[in-house]
Amino acid sequence: MVRGVGALLLGLACVAVPAQERSLPAGALRSGSTYLSPELRAMQEDGFANPGMLWVEKGAKLWGVRAGADGRSCADCHGDARASMRGVAARYPAFDRAANRLLDLEGRINQCRAERQRAAPFAFESEELLGLTAHVASQSRGLPLKVAVDGPAAPHFARGRMLFERRIGQMNLACLHCHEWNAGRRLLAETISQGHPNAYPIYRLEWQSAGSLQRRLRACYSGVRAELPAYNSADLLDLSLFLAWRAEGLAIETPGVRR
């Protein structure tokens, strides 16, 4: 009997929420922008001269452009993005029940394109997809990240955490070795950040362009000399969900500027 109750409780616990132990408490979270030099922080905060604004502006124009077999624009359904998209990016990645899969913001935009506009999806890292994503995400500037990791998202979350903690590549490093155990410490001329996803798409000086979180994650895989996961692969999406949960409460800064 006692054993039966124990098993039942254990079963409920598994269904309710995954193990959500936080190694970075809310008070210890630091956005990547706090590690920037004063010059770069000023560049990010300059609403005109932040180069990422070129993509935000491109996305704002695309928002009103009709496309696809149905000849509809984003605005035809969603109206003014300043109102309808406020807070949306803070909830992504999110499990989409209709598609029965996890979607990041880029995936959601492409899904909308395919199903609502009946248009060809944008390529990853295309100016159009980065632009629309930056436009949508920038409507949530200042709002705290808060993603759902329960229900159908739970297995993705658990897998994302496993990926964050798993050693990979010739360097045999996991995400957490740099971005938790050594965050704030120096690696050559750089300060290692906590690795938060709250400013994407970012304008990265290294790239001389805007880029997505998936591109940045691939860059990390490259940095530890691991095989690069494909764009939109389960690995990158699950990891993105875990990162968003780990950064819960951090304000969105899109478009961020990073080294």
């Binding site: 010059e39 750089e190 000086l205 860059a219 940095g223 690069l228």
Partner: protein, 133 residues
Amino acid sequence: MPLLPLRALAQAEPEVAAMKAFVGNRPVRAGRLVLDIPRIADNGNVVPVRIALPGPFAPGAEVRSIHLFSEKNPVPQMAVFHFPAPVAKVEVESRVRLAGTQRIAAVATLADGTLHAATADVVVTISACIDGS
């Protein structure tokens, strides 16, 4: 102070060859032209720079152009800014690429031929991680 051989001392003082070529044997004034650039650049791909020459300028002595030179870039003349119409406030900002730690130089040419120059040394750091994304 440690003693250094003369050759080492000479190397310690970088020269911006493109600026010397541009100036030739004309006299150059220092101290008035302002060249603002971070002493340590996060990444050589994007380094903010500001150049200003405080006025006022007498009629016939307005600023006509500002040349911006690099010591080590493959193309040493990074940019030229021209002011075809007289302007009271001479100040330009841009973002440059720097191929490594080096000295940069700016030269302002006035309508009467006067040259004002300024130099600045920038340490350019490189990324600690390979990015093959």
